[in-house]
Amino acid sequence: MNTQAIKVIYKYEMMRAWETLAQSFASPVISTVLYFVVFGTAIGSRIESVDGVSYGAFIVPGLMMLALLTQSIANASFGIYLPKFTGTIYEILSAPISFVEIVIGYVGAAATKSFIIGLIILFTAGLFVPLEIAHPIWMLSFLILTCISFSLFGFIIGLWASNFEKLQLIPLLVVTPLVFLGGSFYSVSMLPPAWQTVTLFNPVVYLISGFRWSFFEVADVSVGLSLAMILVFLCICLIIVWWMFKTGYRLRQ
């Protein structure tokens, strides 16, 4: 194992985030807080509570998930797309490192960044509404698993993308709608029955539901199912990444 390589990749990816502090941390946090103010305060004052939880608090897990998913994907996809775009990828390809080490370095750094963003959002939200976390360990586990899975997913997008448009395509056209329709701002049980069934095909529903359960013990689907879904997603991403490196997909001609 080339631990030095993992270290430097991780370190320099984190350094890049640090140097663009405003862009990496401040902007996702600010936009989430804006959602929070608009939805939580403006709309929340008209909705009493959902499943016995005040609306302001109810949307916190969903908003965190929204930020985590978009940030994990954006960070990881850009992290690997950039060297491909500038050509500096030659150095990574010619280095004595395996695909596992590349993935740990890049995905680890991206996941760390979104983990930090998640925590900042949580603390900021705590300033607006009283938050109680029923199952802190579960909450952290969901948080970490989500960061890792979606950073992996972003890494795949970064490898696959051959131009900037493609880099933005999936996050914009697939992920954001899924998150918005995944129960970030409402409980699935508030929908008409037909839509409830449709919603169950949205994988993000399981993520948000599980995550919300770890806060308030209210869930749209069972926690076990939520956990299983996220693990399945993680495995699929791992298999795709493994296949990509095995075949040299879009990296080695």
């Binding site: 030095q4 430097v8 370190k11 500096t88 004595p96």
Partner: protein, 307 residues
């Protein structure tokens, strides 16, 4: 001596169907400087990229230090440093950081003394905290060399190190290559410049359309193919050549004002004495005498054209 790099029957066909390398065989000896000479699109970069692990070979095999580049890539790649042809560098990084990154990437523990010496050798020390985008092209090229040497490789690949580099920097680069060789590094460089191969290489390989046409000692190559010409300029133009000069099979040019004699300088009897004597005996007045060496360029052109 066991070759440090051994390439056998290496072929590469790109996904587009284009065959960039055809059954290349080449052994590179430890400590030598090998120049790969070839026109645009000959396959030089492809060959280097395969050895370094950037491009996958279609068939054939390569060993570095006796280890296979596919199965023992960790060993082989840590022996190699690569300076790419293009100036591929990030923009928002600092010189010191990018060089430290390279060292770590190749599995070496940080060593600021070594990196400091390296940057000083490359006259980059005063730029260590500069952003890469703020450097000139020549400086960027040196940063790339610094990155390639950051992990103390035994083998250095320089893909057109002096493209777009001014005369002074080119001389610096050659001096650096010599110093590296003295410290035991094996160097493989590609170039379009014949003078470059002539000036610094021990051996020269000529590559064209994916085929390695020949590899030979630079001296032997010059010896084998390096003919010389003696150009005799006459005071008066000759209408026809005197009978007595026939044995030298001279060519005449400039409407008879010049006689050209092609000879092999490595023979004991070059025939020059006899020729000059015969010229004066024929009553021709000599204005000037001049010899020219066939450069690698001409050798190269003749090789490429005969294939």
């Amino acid at each position: 001596m066991q070759p440090i790099v051994s390439i056998s029957n290496l072929s590469k066909t790109y996904a587009s169907g284009f065959q960039a390398l055809k059954e290349v065989n080449l052994d590179i000896q430890p400590g030598e400087i090998l120049a790969l000479l070839g026109p645009n699109g000959a396959g030089k970069t492809t060959l280097i990229s395969i050895i370094c692990g950037i491009v996958n070979a279609s068939s054939g095999s390569v060993t570095v230090g006796g280890h296979n580049i596919d199965t023992d890539y960790r060993i082989t790649r840590s022996m190699i440093g690569l300076v790419p042809q293009e100036l591929t560098l990030g923009a928002f990084e600092k010189v010191w950081n990018t060089v430290s990154f390279s060292r770590g990437l190749f599995g070496k523990k940080p060593n600021s003394d070594y990196l400091q010496k390296l940057l000083k050798d490359l006259s980059l020390w005063d730029k260590k905290d500069s952003m890469l985008m703020a450097l000139s092209g020549g400086m960027k090229r040196r940063v790339l060399i610094g990155k390639a040497l950051a992990h103390e490789p035994m083998i250095l690949f320089l893909d057109e190190p002096t493209a777009g580099v001014d005369v002074e920097l080119r001389k610096d680069m050659w001096a650096l290559v010599q110093r590296l060789r003295e410290s035991g590094v094996t160097i493989i460089l590609t170039t379009h410049y014949i003078e470059e191969a002539e000036a610094i290489a021990d051996r020269v390989g000529v590559i064209n359309k994916g085929e390695l046409l020949l590899v030979d000692d630079k001296q032997a190559l010059m010896h084998k193919l390096g003919k010389r010409q003696l150009v005799i300029e006459l005071e008066a133009e000759l209408t026809n050549l005197p009978e007595a000069l026939a044995p030298w099979s001279l060519e005449s040019s400039e409407e008879g004002a010049q006689l050209i004699y092609t000879y092999d300088p490595h023979k004991t009897n070059t025939g020059i004495n006899g020729l000059l004597q015969a010229v004066s005996e024929a009553g021709l007045l000599i204005k000037d005498v001049n010899t020219t060496k066939t450069s690698l360029e001409e050798i190269f052109v003749s090789l490429v054209n005969t294939k």
